[in-house]
């Protein structure tokens, strides 16, 4: 479904990621592991079209999408849920969600349908749909950010560190929901530092270090891999 071939991204003279090869099949849940600054977010920015590729190509559903405008990518079904629960803090919960359906703004019926789906996934958002997004707690903000991404009806959902800064109990709920979204048929690319939790729900994973993929394999293999255990699980 998604294929990155030899992708390199430079920020001015600094190389953020180099020679990245990733393959994601339809319906899979793939995790990108790595420390801060290892290149996970840059990979996401490259896929969604915000950062330009210096080298390589990205194929989505068999079509090359390197250099395509981000809004076109969202219309075609690639959506990114940015790191750090970036919301529109002055807008209400419902307004935030409706912004997520921007590419479907003419289909009022579909928006209503997606809205119900998101409220079904996160009932707390329905309860608070009139509150300002900025007034929500950390976990709720993350739910809203994920919900807003789902409003665009993605085929591929990219989640950038959804567990960062959340209480352990909330993190557990969050991963349950991510699994549920994946079961409904949405392909998921998940960037995480919480390797244990991420690998427990993933099909396969890639480990980033200094902008390069150093280890890759099935989730089970990675969980058993000594290097990965040492670096990310601490056992």
């Amino acid at each position: 479904m998604l294929k990155l071939t030899d992708v390199t991204v430079n920020y001015a003279s600094f190389t953020a990621i180099k020679h990245v090869n990733i393959e994601v099949a339809k319906g899979e849940l793939v995790v990108l592991l790595g420390a801060n600054g290892a290149g996970k977010s840059t990979t996401f920015r490259a896929i969604s079209g915000i950062s330009k590729l210096s080298k390589g190509e990205i194929h989505f559903l068999g079509i090359p999408i390197g250099g395509r405008a981000p809004d076109k990518n969202v219309r075609e079904g690639i959506v990114q849920c940015a790191e750090g629960r970036k919301l529109f803090p002055q807008m209400t919960v419902q307004e935030n969600l409706k912004m997520g359906a921007y590419v479907h703004r003419k289909q009022k019926g579909e928006i209503k349908h997606s809205l119900e789906y998101v409220y079904h996934l996160f009932p707390i958002l329905k309860e608070k749909h009139h509150d300002e997004a900025g007034s929500l707690s950390g976990g709720q903000q993350q739910m809203l950010a994920i919900g807003r991404s789902l409003m665009s009806k993605p085929k591929l959902l990219m989640l950038d560190e959804p567990s960062v800064g959340l209480a352990p109990l909330i993190v557990e709920q969050m991963f349950q929901v991510i699994e549920e979204i994946n079961r409904e048929g949405i392909t998921i690319l998940l960037a995480e530092q919480n390797a244990n939790a991420a690998l427990s729900i993933a099909d396969k994973g890639y480990v980033f270090e200094n902008g390069e993929i150093v280890v890759q394999g099935s989730a089970r293999d990675l969980l058993a891999n000594d290097e990965v255990r040492k670096a990310y699980i601490g056992a």
């Binding site: 915000i50 921007y102 590419v103």
Partner: protein, 331 residues
């Protein structure tokens, strides 16, 4: 039953505005208010771009001048009917705005402000130096007053006041509708974070450009009304000092708010008229006032009122708030 609701306050202000010519003792006050309404239209334009979309433009006095000169030249030199010239003036401003926007919007933040400042100055210079077209420093004289609409004429101060007031109300209504629609929220999303707006599928360039062109439309409309109201225009109306006056009205009233442009313009125009006797020393009052407002009320007077209202609401509903907080922590 509360009498002091927002709705009633708006209705009362509109009634007051319409009855003002009956109350006012002399034409001087009418003249002053009409002029400040014209400035307010331009400030609404700047607010749409700088307040809601987050792109601080310093070229809008230039667009104001383009609107004014288009109307002036079309009526004086081409002999066009006022209403047709008004429509053309707005269109000309929009077309020039579109071309400039295409280039200017490739820059961001302070670079955008500096770039548009230069554009504004270039527009001023073109008007000042192109004597063959604009008459240069001599200015354009004898611009006709607004033409009749059927039996309605616009030759008295009161009738011109009503004309400009109608335009102002229409502009406020249009801006209100934009800001409250998905389009307005799209602009705010861009102000919030362009990257984030892109990740949810907003074509930021297209939306920034429409915001830019719309805001030049309002500046051009204000300029055209100014030309037919004052009936003489010189290159000075496109100068940077006018630009900073407009910006000051916006900042004092409240950038990114609906009532800010009107409040700021009325307050400062009336204040500066009443401080005429101080001449240039007026700036000794405005300078510190502006600094204080920016430090303590970054969203101006309108923003300060909102904050005060929401604080009061918080006090009125302590129990409900506490409940929400408990729930939030549980969730």
């Amino acid at each position: 039953m509360k009498i002091l609701t927002k709705r009633n306050a708006i209705i009362a202000s509109i009634i007051f505005a319409f009855s003002f010519p009956l109350i006012a003792q002399n034409d001087y006050y009418l003249h002053m208010l009409t002029l400040s309404f014209i400035w307010a239209i331009a400030v609404y334009g700047i607010n749409l771009l700088s307040g809601y979309t987050g792109y601080l433009s310093l070229a809008h006095a230039g667009f104001f001048a383009i609107g004014a000169y288009s109307l002036g030249l079309l009526t004086v030199k081409a002999g066009l009917n006022f209403w047709l010239a008004l429509v053309c003036a707005c269109l000309i401003t929009c077309v020039i705005g579109l071309l400039i926007g295409l280039i200017a919007l490739r820059t961001k933040e302070h670079f955008f402000a500096i770039y548009t400042l230069c554009v504004g100055y270039i527009i001023y210079l073109v008007i000042d130096k192109w004597e063959g077209l604009t008459e240069g420093v001599r200015g354009l004289i004898g611009i006709p007053a607004p033409g009749n609409i059927g039996p309605i004429t616009f030759d008295t101060a009161a009738s011109q006041y009503y004309l400009v007031l109608t335009f102002l109300l229409a502009v406020i209504l249009v801006v209100y509708r934009i800001v409250r629609s998905l389009t307005g929220r799209t602009y705010m999303a861009i102000r919030n974070s362009e990257d984030l707006a892109q990740t949810i599928g907003i074509s930021t360039m297209k939306n920034k450009l429409t915001a830019f062109v719309l805001s030049t439309f309002f500046a051009g409309l204000a300029g055209a009304l100014y030309a037919s109201f004052i009936r003489f225009i010189g290159p000075d109306i496109g100068s940077t000092s006018i630009m900073f006056d407009l910006l000051m009205y916006l900042l004092v009233g409240g950038i990114g708010t609906l009532s800010g442009p009107l409040v700021g313009t009325l307050l400062l125009v009336i204040l500066s008229q009443n401080l005429q006797f101080l001449q240039e020393y007026r700036m000794l009052i405005f300078g510190p006032l502006l600094t204080l407002i920016i430090i303590f009320y970054p969203r101006g007077i309108a923003g300060a009122v909102f904050d005060w209202q929401s604080k009061r609401k918080d006090k009125q509903l302590p129990n409900v708030r506490a409940e929400i907080h408990i729930k939030a922590e549980e969730g």
